[in-house]
Point group: C2
Amino acid sequence: MADAPLFDRLCLLGVGLIGSSIARAAKARGDIARTVVAHAKTPATLERVRELGIVDVVEPDAAKAVQGADCVIFCVPVGAYAEVGAVVAPHLKPGAIVTDVGSTKGSVVRDLSPLLPAGVHLVPAHPMAGTEHSGPDAGFAELFEGRYCIVTPLPDSDPAAVEKVREFWRRCGSMIETLDPATHDKVVAIVSHLPHLIAFTICSTADDLAEETKEAVLKFAASGFRDFTRIAASDPTMWRDVFLNNREALLEMLARFTEDAHALGRAVRWGQAEYIEDRIRRGRKIRRGLIERKQA
Amino acid sequence: MADAPLFDRLCLLGVGLIGSSIARAAKARGDIARTVVAHAKTPATLERVRELGIVDVVEPDAAKAVQGADCVIFCVPVGAYAEVGAVVAPHLKPGAIVTDVGSTKGSVVRDLSPLLPAGVHLVPAHPMAGTEHSGPDAGFAELFEGRYCIVTPLPDSDPAAVEKVREFWRRCGSMIETLDPATHDKVVAIVSHLPHLIAFTICSTADDLAEETKEAVLKFAASGFRDFTRIAASDPTMWRDVFLNNREALLEMLARFTEDAHALGRAVRWGQAEYIEDRIRRGRKIRRGLIERKQA
């Protein structure tokens, strides 16, 4: 016999790539929630979610959507948490778990903690999964399988609530890790946010080149540049919010990176072959580490 | 009936990823060369090429390898052209075509032109194909299929020799484009060399992080960072030589890129949401261009 559903009523605030993947995973398995309610901001998304039939209730009013839910998951861009949080906080059920899927965690604590009534449990989380596509059509039930989900409880988080969030992600197929929010934000700054900032930058640098060269850029996009454009195709609003909400860690990593890029550029200018080779070998070492961990 | 072979005796100087892929393509098709001779520097590579059985003659002496060849292809790192060129130049057959597969073209003209005897035709070329793997085992006959090959003839190149090099790459399955060497070097600086410099840099920046964070970097390498490590896994000697031999164009593109990265970092620091979104959208535009051209 399958396990009993983890939640009676699960509420998704936002139904993009991640939210719609959670909805599909819950539908595909019987043990996540008895009822899934989804709220989205735009009528077009609400209508599309209805058409897709991936949730039980589609609710245009965020305050109504959270009513009676024993778990509410913020799946909107992290820049919208404070606004959405202010709308829904007074309507949360006592004892409800509030969690999220955002790529920054310090900002969640900053934006949601002050709004939540006593007896509501905040347990931020970050599923390390995604594609360059966005919107309710982009999701799929298997998105989280075999991927890490980082849970970042606060020192005073209720252990039972933390364990429910962990179990939720286990049932979605994820491997669970626990970090404090500040360490999380530093790690994702280097593994995810800085690579995206760099990819957006090199693509827009290319776009600025003279018309003639730009045509050639597109024509001869070798594998190197093609990978950058894939990363750079991600959702603009989401990434704008991620950058603005992980400002300090991102700027620190950007500073380290540009120092290193300048040092490598200087070695190219002065013909320092050994220095260049050494830096290239360091990159390969990281790659080997990924292959050994089967993350490559 | 198949076309007659394009060359009687084709000589490959270097049998890494590209050289061994040419050897395999020539073996797979009957219309490229009657005999393929390969020279490599290290006994281990020579032995491995013998074992693989992908060429007709394995020749440890570069000067002997080129003797009687009507086409000689430099497949060594571009930094070795001057040294290898000095060894082979006196032994080239009158009327022979000398071409190459290097990622920089101005340097080929600089390094080989002064060495070649009158009556030998220099026609530099650059197949825009590759993987992150290197060595004679990494090659495969289909590597060049559907990929661009940029031919960069000199103003005084013999038209018949240029056409033979074009036809050679056509028979390898490539689409042929023609550029002058300087334009080629600028275009590849942005589409290929700078992306590699950036990927090597971010991977070595990550490697420099404190032990604790580095472990997490490997553990949580999200898709963004994983793509960078794939690019950064490329051959160190080859890329060192590419950087040193396309110095000016690469440093110009690096300067443009770091200006743009600093501008985006500044927008993050000052919370300029619109600027950030605009730069992200520019990246998506480039991506759409690739998809329309079926290069994505």
